[in-house]
């Protein structure tokens, strides 16, 4: 499987925020997107999964076969917001996403265990602390399978231990032949990840 | 009211509304033109102008 970006440029509110981004990522590879605030990291991730149209260039995903025809189908997008409903319990949230996203992978209970949240699945999501919320959102990546993970500052709010745990989860995903693109300000603890440094569009 | 008054009212209202519309558009135009001038005086040019210039030069 390959995720290829060719001469991408992205636009926000009619303004180019980055341009000329190209890379090709194969199975088992990770790409860290870094850069100052407002450089366009989040915008790049949204363009990669097709939530925003690219202003120029194109994104292609190949080798996914029938299951993953394009990058929108093949990716898990973990944005700044956790995409969980505060009024539903953590388990209800995860079970919903598993059924809706399809390709079930881990059982929600197991997934919660993997992120160290076992025992609080019955709590409404709105009762969790910031870091716990983020971990519940990470558990969503595990309940359904997707080869590509697009992560936007995945470790924001996590404590030291959970950061390590998450690095291990990413490691396993890469070993299984997955791809990861992560926008981040903090080192994610992945060995051998490539780095894409963004500096915003030239004027 | 006599019939003539109705006719007069109808034409009067129409003239008023159309005049207001026209004046509004003219004022809007003038304001935009002024803003553009101001920006150009401050030395800001559109990206496409520069690109366009580049393209002309290439031809």
């Amino acid at each position: 499987m390959r995720l290829i970006a060719e001469e991408l440029s992205g636009e926000r509110g009619g303004e180019t925020v980055f341009s000329g981004v190209s890379f090709a990522l194969g199975s088992g590879e990770a790409l860290m997107v870094t850069g100052p605030n407002g450089a366009g990291k989040s915008t790049l991730l949204r363009v990669l999964c097709g939530l925003l149209p690219p202003a120029e260039g194109q994104v292609s995903f190949s080798g996914g076969g029938e299951d993953w025809p394009d990058s929108a189908a093949a990716c898990h997008y973990l944005g700044h917001r956790n995409a969980m409903k505060a009024a539903l319990s953590v388990m209800e949230n995860l079970a919903f996403w598993q059924r809706f996203l399809g390709n079930p992978h881990l059982d929600p209970h197991e997934a919660l265990e993997m992120v160290g949240l076992d025992g609080i699945g019955h709590l409404p999501f709105g009762y969790l602390s910031t870091g716990q919320r983020r971990r519940a959102a990470i558990a969503r990546l595990l309940v359904s399978y997707r080869p590509v993970w697009l992560l936007d500052e995945p470790t924001s709010g996590l404590d030291r231990a959970s950061e390590k745990q998450f690095a291990e989860l990413m490691g396993v995903h890469l070993e299984d032949g997955g791809l990861i693109v992560a926008a981040t300000h903090l080192p994610l603890g992945l060995n051998g990840a490539r780095e894409l440094a963004m500096r915003g569009a030239e004027l | 009211m006599t019939h003539a008054a109705y006719v007069f009212a109808a034409y009067g209202v129409s003239a008023l509304v159309i005049a207001a519309l026209g004046i509004w558009i003219l004022l809007d135009q003038a304001a935009r033109r002024r803003e553009l001038k101001e920006l150009e005086q401050r030395g800001i040019r559109r990206r496409s102008d520069r690109q366009g210039a580049g393209k002309e030069a290439n031809k």
Binding site: P53, P69, G79, H80, A83, E92 | -
Partner: protein, 221 residues
Amino acid sequence: MLALFLRETRLGVRAGSGALTGVLFFLAVVAVIPFGVGPDLNLLARIGPAILWIGALLASLLGLERLFQADREDGSLDLLLLTGHRHMTALTVFVKCLAHWTVNVLPLVVVTPLLGLFMNLEPLGIAAATATLAVGTPAITFIGAVGAALAVALPRGGLLVSVLILPLTIPVLIFGVAAARGAVADPDPFLPPFLILAALMLFFAVIGPLAAALALRWSGD
């Protein structure tokens, strides 16, 4: 899709004051009209179906503007849109509309017979009004979905959504009232307007979600 339907209804029931606000508003509308027209029971019976319809139409506007906004704010909307290859976005919208209707509008239909009694309608008229409401109100929700999708990027689109969709709901209202009245007022027929109403509902059940899906796809940010 069933999962989505269940989630939405659960959310609606659990979090929302939606259902009851709607019913109470409906009640308020129906309660206040007799004050306006005075105690003339015949007149009341005559305009009864229209009042019920207008009440239902306005009540179903409540909460409609949040249909997609809540999802957008917590980031779910992104994921719903991303699964477009697996669940057509229009279908997702359709299911959300259905859930919204079940939670917020169905209760109105259920209390209609009671209100019909208040308005001095005869049994046949009550049955007809209830039937037309059951068939017609989904159309309003589907039209509303378009408005909600158009206004999703606006922080407080409430009124704007209603403004955008009210003119579009007028045909539904016309045929709904015509059918409800046709069942009792003798020269007027019941079936033709009722069938047109059903056709309108089906039409909007297709067009509404498609247009809303389009609007959502392009709201992208």
